[in-house]
């Protein structure tokens, strides 16, 4: 997928012009936090649950070589072939090789952000394979030749009307009208059922890998991932090297938080654990199973300053609660992962040069950190990335000069006090009548959108010196 993260501001302005999409994002932003908080209240002790998960994830990452070795041994023992891929290209060629070894023509895929990251679909399609996404949201955007705008609900940006038109265009509907959403879901179900039954290869992601027994965990509501895992003769699980959990029981903390944080459910309809190829006497299941473990900068993240980002469980709660994401939508971020988690991940998985606009797409409101089930301090990580951006001189020179000037003035108390003691009373006098300004020199970026409140007369230091701790008394 071509990256356009550095035109974030332009992408965002463009997105804001689409008022229909903005309305749908608004209703999502109103509804999903309510669903989440109702579900989280139901847990009782959210804080101790997320601390438990954090401990488990930290412990797994602290000992990742140990658990990955154990997982590999168990997975091989279960009959899998385990592959390692350093980067996107390696993962894509491993998967293509497997497909070609079986002379496969048709591939069905469950939702996998990792394969979005590597651009697997277009790679396989260029080699002549028929690749079908089967998660309804992913199917819709694949048919529309678009990219996901949300990591959990990839077709968030599409209206029901657009989906209806898309199906009319792409499917042989005859006289059928697809009046409501139920009809559209039934239509996709029917079309995709054929693909499930005919595909030679199924590709799925994994929400976790269990070290003690070599199982991979898959969480879905539609059941499409399970159909991919059970019907085709060959199964390929594509995931990353950091997804390890020591034991199956350790998945419970994650499961208690994942669906609640994502959709407000206590558990998704399907939570499955797959160990390998079908056994003697099995009626169905794949004959051959592969697990492809991708690094793609995760091992660098493990040793670096942003290690906590590896604890992310991809629930999407930070997206749903972010004032920037809910205003401009996922496409503005210009790559695979949007929102607060994406603004941290994208610079780490690609480069800060290619994406330094993203860490600035933050109001530091802190809601993402508050709701994060993995307790990742997202605003801190974004601030650290902005520090790096400044240090590496990636931000516009005017910004850097302004910041430098501000920093210098702030470090000269006499000058700071003299300046504020002159400017504040002046602004107070000028804005006394209306209480605010509609225009101010050097602040048009602020006043073009909203009024600037007029200062109340004295500076903090003046009040402090006068011994007034509470200015209203």
């Amino acid at each position: 997928m071509e990256q356009r993260s550095n035109t974030f501001l332009e992408n965002a302005s463009e997105a804001l012009k689409n008022t229909e999409q903005a309305k749908r994002r608004d209703s999502m932003a109103r509804l999903t936090p309510l669903l989440r908080s109702a579900a989280i209240e139901d847990v009782g002790d959210f804080e101790s649950l997320r601390q438990q998960m954090k401990q488990v994830r930290q412990h797994s990452l602290d000992n990742l070589d140990h658990y990955l070795t154990q997982f590999e041994q168990e997975a091989v023992h279960n009959g899998n072939r385990v592959h390692f891929a350093r980067d996107a290209e390696e993962l894509n060629s491993i998967v293509l090789d497997i497909c070609q070894q079986h002379d496969a023509r048709r591939v069905v895929k469950g939702k996998s952000m990792v394969t979005e990251e590597t651009g697997l679909n277009s790679f396989l399609q260029r080699a002549g394979l028929d690749v079908m996404e089967t998660d309804l949201g992913e199917y819709i955007i694949q048919q529309a030749v678009e990219t996901p705008s949300h990591i959990v609900t990839p077709a968030l940006h599409k209206s029901a009307e657009e989906v209806r038109e898309l199906f009319k265009d792409k499917h042989d509907l005859g006289p059928r009208e697809l009046e409501d959403t139920t009809d559209m879901v039934a239509e996709a179900r029917q079309v995709l059922r054929e693909h499930f039954l005919k595909a030679e290869v199924g590709i799925i992601g994994a929400n976790a890998l269990i070290a003690e027994n070599g199982y991979s965990m898959l969480v879905t509501n539609e059941g499409n991932g399970d159909l991919c895992a059970n019907l085709p003769k060959t199964l390929i699980v594509c995931t990353t090297i950091d997804r390890l959990l020591p034991r199956a029981e350790d998945a419970t903390a994650m499961l208690r938080l994942l669906a609640r944080s994502a959709t407000g459910q206590s558990q998704t309809a399907y939570t499955s654990f797959y160990s390998g190829p079908s056994r003697d006497g099995d009626v169905d299941g794949p004959q051959e199973t592969h697990i492809v473990l991708l690094d793609n900068a995760r091992s660098e993240m493990l040793t670096g300053d942003y290690r906590e980002m590896l604890e992310c469980i991809r629930c999407g709660a930070c997206l749903n609660h972010c004032p920037i994401f809910t205003s401009v939508g996922g496409h503005a971020y210009g790559w695979v992962y949007p929102g607060p988690m994406g603004s941290v991940l994208t610079p780490l998985l690609t480069s800060l040069e290619q994406s330094n606009a993203l860490p600035n797409a933050c109001t530091s409101c802190g809601r993402c950190a508050e709701v994060c089930p993995a307790d990742i301090p997202l605003p801190d990580l974004l601030r650290d990335l902005r520090h790096e951006e400044t240090r590496e001189k990636l931000s516009p020179s005017r910004w850097r000069l302004g910041l430098k000037l501000h920093a210098w003035v702030s470090q000269q108390p006499w000058l700071y006090r003299a300046l504020t003691a002159t400017i504040i009373p002046l602004l107070h006098l000028m804005g006394r009548r209306r209480g605010s300004f509609t225009r101010l020199p050097f602040a048009s970026g602020w006043t073009s959108e909203r009024n600037f409140p007029a200062p109340q007369g004295k500076t903090f230091m003046q009040l402090y010196k006068a011994g007034m701790k509470k200015p209203n008394e």
């Binding site: 309804l136 090297i241 309809a269």
Partner: protein
Amino acid sequence: MSESARSEIFAKLRTASRGGSAEAIDRERQSLQSAPAPMPPATEVCEAFLINVLKNRGSIDCAAGRGETVKAVAQYLYQYFRSHRLVAGNDPRLAAMPWRDAGVLPRFGGIEAGEPVALSFAQLAVAETGAIVTYTGKANPAANNLLPQHHIVLVDRTDLVATQEQAWTRINQDMEKRGRPRGINFIAGPSSTADIEGQLVYGAHGPRSWHVILLGDTPADILARAHSAVT
């Protein structure tokens, strides 16, 4: 597989890891704190399970003995399909049911195209999440969970556990005895999607309806209690 990719990745991971012994790592893992399961919606485990099945948009029924079980299945089939046919895995517990008494004609095996109803006998069920658990295999082919329009699941009251941790204790015991199944499936509701404008629709790819019948001794008014807790 490129051996160099594997060794390069492991070399990087080793520099990042603590490098403790397997025993030390295991000790540390044992010492990690645990967190309580969410409060159940009812103190009685059967009732909590049935309430959570309803919350997951399943439908519920109870049956005391085998006779009542086949009758409950027959009623469901007749209500929705005016039929007496269904498909079920080769589970000895299902084979031993007096199907003929209720006029039900099960076919034992994997589901085939066009068969609308499948029946499974759960290995266990979890009250905390209202989920049933099946293992893939001859007794319950995976496709039987996924391809029918309606999925009926029998749960023996004695196979019901309160929490997910207890579920894993049971599953681990089963694996010690019988080996690792290819797939362990927790199912908590009919297949669903909200991918079009956030509207929840059932029957995305898997079953549109999910019906759970709890077998064994349960309080007489348990169905009514469960329904009143959800409405």
